[in-house]
Amino acid sequence: MIELNGVKKSFGKQEVLKDVSIKVEDGEVVVILGPSGSGKTTLLRSINFLEKADSGIMKFKDKEINFKSPKKKDILYMRRHTGFVFQNYGLFAHKTVLQNVMEGLVQVQKKSKQEAQSIAEEVLANVGMLEKRDSYPAQLSGGQQQRVGIARAVALKPDVILFDEPTSALDPELVGETLEVIKAVAKTGITMIVVTHEMSFAEDVADRVIFMDGGVVVEEGKPGEIFYKPKEERTRQFLSRIIPQDAYVI
């Protein structure tokens, strides 16, 4: 279980997170929606301290971490128990696909090279990238790179995987294959927090949807409730722009 309480964060004078609290149960898949600038990515990034929130409390497993003064070992603890999938993939450019997935297994989890390699190969096979194991990231399409990015996060068997708009940088025709891989990961029962704009993905996969706007959580609930019976006017406005209304289906 991961619980954030009263998280605040400002960039200069601009308040990006104004007292945000969320709770994610073990095994739950939570999708965070919201317009750009709503603070959803900042919230996600503050969980593993890629962004340093100004204040708030995070409860994770048996730890309680104060965002105001996180200890170095707490930051490392969070990073070693969470996986992160970047919008721009963030594969290590100088390492092959296999080396990318093995890096954390060998360097952080201190597994032997053989063991790390067999884990990496298994995970790469699951995302359909085993054939490309010896390619460098520059030789792969965006969708392929993102699948490796997902494999790298999954291979470390984190307690929770954080996805930061994993399909936003992809060509439209590559979005599908990447979402399929994320769905498959979700089916393994791992806890996931996903920031995305993919509505149908949210509807299919999410146990719960959180709608954020202007640095606060506006509304949360089951995808069906949020999408079809939103309680808040702001949610309705946002959705009406994203889900085509009265669309002709041919």
């Binding site: 301290f49 890629l50 594969l91 290590f92 450019a93 030789q139």
Partner: protein, 235 residues
């Protein structure tokens, strides 16, 4: 002015016999400067308080100091103060026994460190922020993110500049002949002192520097090709 082949060969032979001095001076200076330059650039990149400001001012000021001026200045200071320094620390070595090459090392290391630190600072900017974040996200510490992810990716960015620094250093190393260290340049002129064959001496020295310089360029060329292979679109 006549050109004597035999004097030239004599100068060349003498110059070649001092190649190890020049190479050692260049190589040690380069390695030490690279290490120190990397430390300075890293400190400045992470804006470590006090130290980064200090280095910023120091590097800016020091880069304006010509190597020859620095060399003669340090040499003068050394000559003047070594006596009292040695007495204070009870160093039993008289000044005549101290190899002046240490002044050469000091001068070259100071200057090269400053210029290399600027190159490395530039290379930091060539690395995308997400590479750092990806390292952190899999649980690598800051130090290991640097050594395992960031520094290796700097190699292809740094190589052209480092080749430049190394050749510049090779050429600057002959300045130490001004404080009576004998290296390739001074070595080539040793026979000239006897026979007044200065033209032959200078040409011999030029030839030796030129050959070493070309060797460095060839090595750097292949290094660049190899280290940047992951950047290519096709395998």
């Amino acid at each position: 002015m006549s050109f004597s082949i035999s004097s030239f060969l004599e100068s060349l032979q003498s110059a070649i016999s001092y190649v190890p001095v020049t190479l050692k001076l260049t190589a040690i200076t380069f390695v030490v400067s690279f290490f120190l330059g990397a430390v300075i650039a890293t400190v400045r990149y992470y804006r470590i308080p006090v130290l980064s400001q200090f280095f910023a001012v120091f590097v800016t000021v020091y880069l304006g100091l010509p190597t020859m001026v620095a060399l003669l200045l340090y040499n003068l200071l050394f000559m003047t103060f070594y006596g009292s320094f040695a007495t204070f620390f009870h160093i039993p070595v008289p000044i005549s026994e101290v190899n002046p090459i240490i002044i050469g090392y000091f001068t070259l290391i100071m200057g090269t460190t400053c210029s290399i630190s600027e190159s490395i600072r530039g290379a930091f900017r060539g690395i995308e922020k997400v590479q750092f974040e990806a390292g952190y996200s899999i649980g690598l510490s800051r130090f290991r993110t640097l050594t395992r992810i960031v520094f290796p990716q700097m190699v292809p960015i740094l190589l052209p500049g480092m080749q430049n620094s190394l050749i510049g250093l090779l050429k600057a190393s002959n300045l130490v002949s001004a404080i009576s260290v004998i290296e390739v340049m001074a070595g080539a002129l040793l026979p000239s002192l006897l026979y007044y064959s200065y033209l032959e001496g200078y040409v011999a020295a030029a030839l030796v520097y030129w050959l070493i310089g070309i060797a460095i360029e060839i090595v750097a060329h292949y290094g660049e090709k190899y280290s940047g292979k992951y950047l290519k679109k096709t395998a």
